[in-house]
Amino acid sequence: MNSGPALVSILRQGDTLVASIHTALDDSEMIRFQNDLIEQIGQHRARGVIIDVAALDVLDSFGSRTLRTISEMARLRGAVTVIVGIQPDVAYAMVRLGMGMGTVATALDLEEGLAYLSTLRATRSLGRGGTARG
């Protein structure tokens, strides 16, 4: 997966990928994370992606933009993305700086994220909607 120390772990849980970011990533690490994750969505035929940012106490504009990009790319590859674990301070700083998450789904923590995805799955909307599966 990643070369070097594990800054991010990407685990498969059924048809969901759980990516936990363990530490603040710089821009190139963020890009590598993006490429790895999008790659693995195809490999594992994932329908849902959860990105856990609970360990981050800061999220810069590049980081939040990359998360939005990942979400959009994942959608094109047939998976719904949920960002989970945004800390209160991070959330407030993000809205103050005008870097929202756009239309990306967010949830309180991993558990909530999984619950959200299973709700989607129950209503059969997961992975639908003209997405191109790779």
Partner: protein, 297 residues
């Protein structure tokens, strides 16, 4: 200045100076204390000042004000009076006594005493001039001191109340599992909006809330800044996975918001708190039903 005046009128009555006249003046005021105080009280009553006070209080307060007044004339030191005026203000401000009343009664006392001086010294105009030279600056200083003390005290009370309002924690109340209510009471400025958002966000994490109802019935006015704070709060809550319902937008506030063009399209708003709670329960999948027979209490 005093020297000039004395030279002017030195031809009349010997060498009496202001310092010599003051004891005479004070003695006069002490001697006619009761009469002058009653005269003062009746003029206060005629002017409809201090109507918040009972006659007993009025009598007690006017006596001490009178004594303090004469003492300041005698000693020239306003410190004791300052202290007394602050103390008096502390007592009467909560009763709704206004600045004009306090200034008014002190000016009335000044006039009453001045008239009694006119009366006493009317035969000797030069001496009267001397007396007034001694009396007027002291009297004006007293009026000044009392007014300033009163205003200071009032400002202190206002500051205290502002601090109290600011420190009033905005409660984040869990009403059901995963449902929080945040009632906003009072003026929302930037500082308070920041505190409020932080409290709400940590409340969302602590209570694992999915829905938050923000009730702004108690917010007197919503301007653009406040509205933008609300939008930020809603966005930040959403980032933490909670959806926000805003309730209690009055017709006036709704009109203001539309007129100033704040984009509230992303906000879920419902008329009143009751409706907001019902919507929140619906979002959370609660169904509240009423038992047919109310249980005995």
């Amino acid at each position: 200045m005093k020297e000039d005046v004395m030279e002017d009128s030195s031809r009349s009555e010997g060498t009496q100076t202001g310092e010599h006249l003051l004891p005479q003046l004070v003695a006069h005021l002490r001697e006619h204390r009761e009469k002058l105080r009653d005269e003062w009280v009746s003029r206060i009553r005629d002017a409809h000042l201090l109507e918040a006070m009972t006659p007993q209080e009025m009598s007690a307060e006017t006596t001490s004000v009178y004594d303090n007044y004469v003492e300041v004339l005698e000693t020239g030191s306003v410190e004791a009076l300052q202290h007394y005026a602050r103390d008096l203000s502390e007592r009467i401000i909560p009763r709704g006594v206004e600045t004009h009343e306090v200034v008014g009664i002190v000016l009335l006392l000044r006039d009453v005493l001045a008239r009694s001086l006119f009366e006493k010294y009317q035969r000797d105009f030069a001496l009267l001039n001397h007396i007034l030279d001694a009396y007027e600056p002291a009297a004006n200083r007293i009026a000044n001191t009392v007014a300033v003390s009163f205003v200071d005290e009032r400002e202190r009370v206002i500051r205290q109340q502002q601090d109290a309002i600011r420190e009033l924690s905005t409660p984040v109340l869990p009403v059901r599992e995963r449902l929080l209510i945040l009632p906003i009471i009072g003026v929302l400025d930037s500082e308070r909006a920041r505190q409020l958002t932080e409290q709400l966000l940590s409340g969302i994490r602590t209570h694992r809330a999915k829905v938050v109802v923000i009730d702004i019935t108690g917010a007197p006015d919503v301007d653009e800044t406040v509205a933008n704070h609300l939008v930020q709060t809603v966005d930040a809550s959403r980032l933490m996975g909670a959806s926000v319902i805003i309730t209690g937008l009055s017709p006036t506030i709704a009109q203001t918001l539309v007129t100033i063009g704040v984009d509230l399209s992303k906000m879920n708003t419902i008329g009143d708190l009751q409706g907001g709670l019902e919507e929140a329960e619906r979002l959370l999948g609660y169904r509240v039903t009423r038992t047919e027979v109310p249980e005995d209490s």
